[in-house]
Every structure is written in C-alpha cells, then in structure tokens.
Amino acid sequence: MRSALPILPLLLGFGGVASVLLLGRHPIPLRIVVWLFQFAILAIVVLVLARTWDGTILVHRAGGWQPPVGIAFVADRFSSVFGVTIATVSTAAVAYALLDAEAVPRQRVMALFFMIQAGMYGAVFTGDLFNLYVFVELFGVSSYGLVAYRGQAPHVEAALKYATLSLLASVLMLMGIGSVYAQTGTLTLAALHHASVGLASPPLYLFSIALVLVALTLKAALFPLHFWLPDAHSIAPTAVSIVLSGAVVKVGGYGVLRVLFSHDPWLGGQVGWVLLPLAAVTAVGAAWMAFGQSDLKRFLAYSTASQMGYVLAGGSLGTVAGIRAAVVYSVIHATTKASLFAVAGVAEGIYGDRRWDRMGGLAARSPLLTATALVALLSLAGIPPLAGFSGKLAVFAALAAEGAWLSLFALVVASLTILTAAGRIWLGMAGGAPKGARPRASRSKLAVAAALVFLVVLLGLGTGPLIDAGEAAAVQLLDGRAYRKAVLGP
C-alpha cells in the first residue's frame, strides 16, 4: 500500500536536527522543540506498527521513481517492530540527556541525538541496499560524535577506535555493494531475491554479501569485530550509552537479517553456517569478559555484546522460530539494557565512581534504585517471570529445534555466567552499610530508569502478544512474496 509513513520518521529526525540548531539556544525552547519532535517520531512509528500489524506493507517511493531505479522506503512487520523499539529507547535516552549534566553543550548533543535517530529509522525502513549503507554511515558518524563530544582523553580514544574500525568496515561494505550490483544489476532489496537465483558465480556472490555483512556485524558487535564496543559503550555519557546499547546494536542485527533473508534461502543457509558459531562464541566470550569487570558500565557493555550473540544465533538459523526469537530478544534486550544503563548512571551520580564494588550500602541509600536495579538485572539474567526469561527460552527452543546442540550449550553457559555476575554485582551494590555523606539519587533520572523497568515488567507480563508479533514478523520476512509484490508491483 502506498503511504508516506515509512519515510516520515527519517524526515522528522532531520527536522529535529534543524529545529534544535535553529531554535534551541535557550533551555525552555530547546525542551519544547525536542519533545515536540520526539513525540511526533514516537507517534509515527507506533502508527506504522499499527498499520502494518495486519500484514499490510507500506511503501513510499522517494521522488515518485519506480524501483529498481528509484529508492523505496518500506515498512513491514519486521521493520516496524524494530522502529518502535528504537523510538522507545531513544525517547528514554533523550529524556535522560535533558536531565544529565554530562550532556552539555545541550543544543548540539540534542541535534546529534536526532541525527542518530534519523540514521537508524532510515536504515530500518529503507528498501535499498546502497541506501542502507548511507544510513549506516549516518548513524555511525553521529555515534562517534556522541561518544567523543566531551573531548577528554578517554572519550576521544574510544571514539577513535570505534570510528577507525567502523569506517574500515564500511569501505568493505561499499565494495561489497558495488560487487553485488555488478552481478545482479539491482540494489533494491526486494529485487535481490530473484536476482540471487541462477547467478554466474554463487561463491563470488557469497563473498560480496560477506563484505556487506562485515560492516553490519561490526555494528552488531559480533566476534571478532566486537572489541570497540566495551570502550565506546562504557566511556560514553550515560544517555549516549542508553541509545548505543539499546538501539544502535539492534540496527546492526536488523541489517544482517534483512539483507540475508531478502535473498533466496540458499544464501541464508550458506551464511548461517558461519554466523551461528560466531554468535555462540560472542555470547560465551563476552559473558566471560563481563564476569571479570569491576566497572559497572563496562560489565553492561560486555553483556550487550553477549546478548547480541543470542539475537544473531536465533537469526542465523533462518527458521521462523529462530527469527521470531531474534525479534523478541531484540525488543526485550533493548528495554532491559536501556534501563540498566539508566540505573548505572544514577548510581554513578551518587558515588562519583563507576566501580560496583565501591557502591556498598545502596539499599540503605536508595531503596527504589536498588529495587529497580534488581528487576533489571534479573531480566538481563533471564529469571522467570521477567521478560529476559521468555526471550532466552525462545532462542534456546529455536536452537534445539534445529539440533544445534553445541551452540545451545554455549548459550546456556553464557546465561549462567551472566546470572552469576549479575547476582554478585547486585549483592555487592545493595549490601553493606552506607559510609560517609553522598549526594542523593537524582529523582528525575531515577524516574527514567523506573519507567524503563516498568516497560520490562510489562513485556514480561505481555510475553504472549510479543511472541505472536515476532512470529508474524518472521513469517512475513521469510515468505517475502507480499514484500516483493508491494515494492516492485505485480
């Protein structure tokens, strides 16, 4: 169905950047402009989800040009679920950034927050491979700026590492796209399905797609391209960590799945053989690294890498159950990790330190923060009845159904490692007697964390509908006929 909705979040993101820079010099107008655009974006993506819920596919042809020449913006169930997740996490991050003394100069930081969002919505709703590259670059560039803007040595170092690696990967992606075009004569994702059957040289095509996937798996922090993540996600100011760990890595995962399953199933099968072991290694290795961290935000950053291993392990199977698990896990992990980073930011505000072993006596200082941290950590560790449990169960069930026992074992070990680490951290923080006078927990920031944890609890209660939505998205993505018909025309 023709509709301008899929391109609107992107345009509102750009509009937000321009309006913040034009009108946001003083705090009150800045807040008004930011909330106006943020709520508009949130409303639009929720509307997109509502319109695509029944299986309708919304298509906007940019400039009125017909694919394969023109660029289409497409919203199906799969992309709208990711769009809503990104918008929710970004709204929380924006709320946190408006309260955060670290997020100054506020006007420019807010402009970057809208730029990174524009890039993410563009990447999620685009129907064109080269356009995907452009938007991956756009949110990449904004994220280096967001990591580095405080300009002190650790920020700059983390941003330089992150930028160098991502830029190298995106040069490879560019060459991969060129090579895909040379072999298929199209860059429209919907047209790649037919073009990928009967190629002159399938191995060469596989190599081209591998080049494209390198850049996307780097964004998703898949082993061996994960090592920038702990630096960037832990050094960044808290509001930025929320959006990086909650949303940006998910767009990497989305891109991998979208590119793979736009093709004929032979490609997903071939790539899955490589992707599944890498995802399992990421899950275990990063969980192991997370276990040894005394820096709370660094623990959260490593656990993000570990959890992306779950998402991609599910997605790499190429079955309905696997992709359903990837979708469900992405949504759950986004909210859980966003709430945990908000908690870490509030705790850092009290103790002036990010080391959890120096945060003794939190239960006496701020019971609400301690309870929030408990619920979020339990969801991260996958304790029923919280959301994290059903996400993990979905991934495990998908792996068991395909008989991938070794990967299943790896993921169970990773879960137990994270569970132990999370328990240790919470006990270390909550227990003990409070020593010395410390500032009180920031109430407004705590409200952001509590709101996110409330969402996690809601997701835990509403697991049934979430899994149904994941299933519907997976069926539509794997079938692909409706998508191709909507984009290319009958």
């Binding site: 560039v141 280096y144 580095a148 700059v156 170092e157 330089l160 160098t164 060459m175 060129g178 040379a182």
Partner: protein, 110 residues
Amino acid sequence: MSWLLCATFSVLIAVGIFHLLQRDAIRLVLGFSLLLGGANLFLLLCSAFFGRRAPYVVHEEVGGDPIPQVLILTAIAIGFGVTALLVALVLATGQQLETVDLDEVSRLEH
C-alpha cells in the same frame, strides 16, 4: 583500459592497507583516504568493464550504466565527511594526549 584501472585499484588498496597498519594516527587517516579512493574506483570498474560509452542522454546508442556513477558521487561525499571527522578525532587525540602514536593512545583498561 580497464586493466589500468584494475592495477590502480590494487595499488590504492595495498598502499591504503599498509598505511592503516602503521602506528601513526595521521598515516591512518591517509590510508583511509586511499582506501576510499580505491573503493570508488572499484564501483566505477563494476560498470565500466562493459566498454560502453558514457551514460549521456544525447547519444543514440545505448550508454553505460549511470547508477554506479551516482553511487560514486554519494560515496565521495560521505567519504569526504567521514575523513574530516576522522581528522578532527585525530586532532583531538593529539591535543589531549600529546601523541598520535596509536600504541601510546591505547590506555583504556581491558
């Protein structure tokens, strides 16, 4: 003349990767620019090896494919932007740490 383009492409990529592997952050930026140049040339090669004429509407015969050239233009613009950002980051590194040696820059705990 596509063999000449292929050779140039190979040299650009090889020299670019060589510079990326050095410890000096400024050579990293230079290496990255060379890689981008190589990637743009690769996009051109993807279209040019059919040996057709330039994609120009006035010609009566079938022209070459215009899409790779559009891609190259976009890639040049993006490459320019990200190179400028990388230079800014290296500059900030130099100002903060008084070194652009990447081994000395690596001070974050692991």
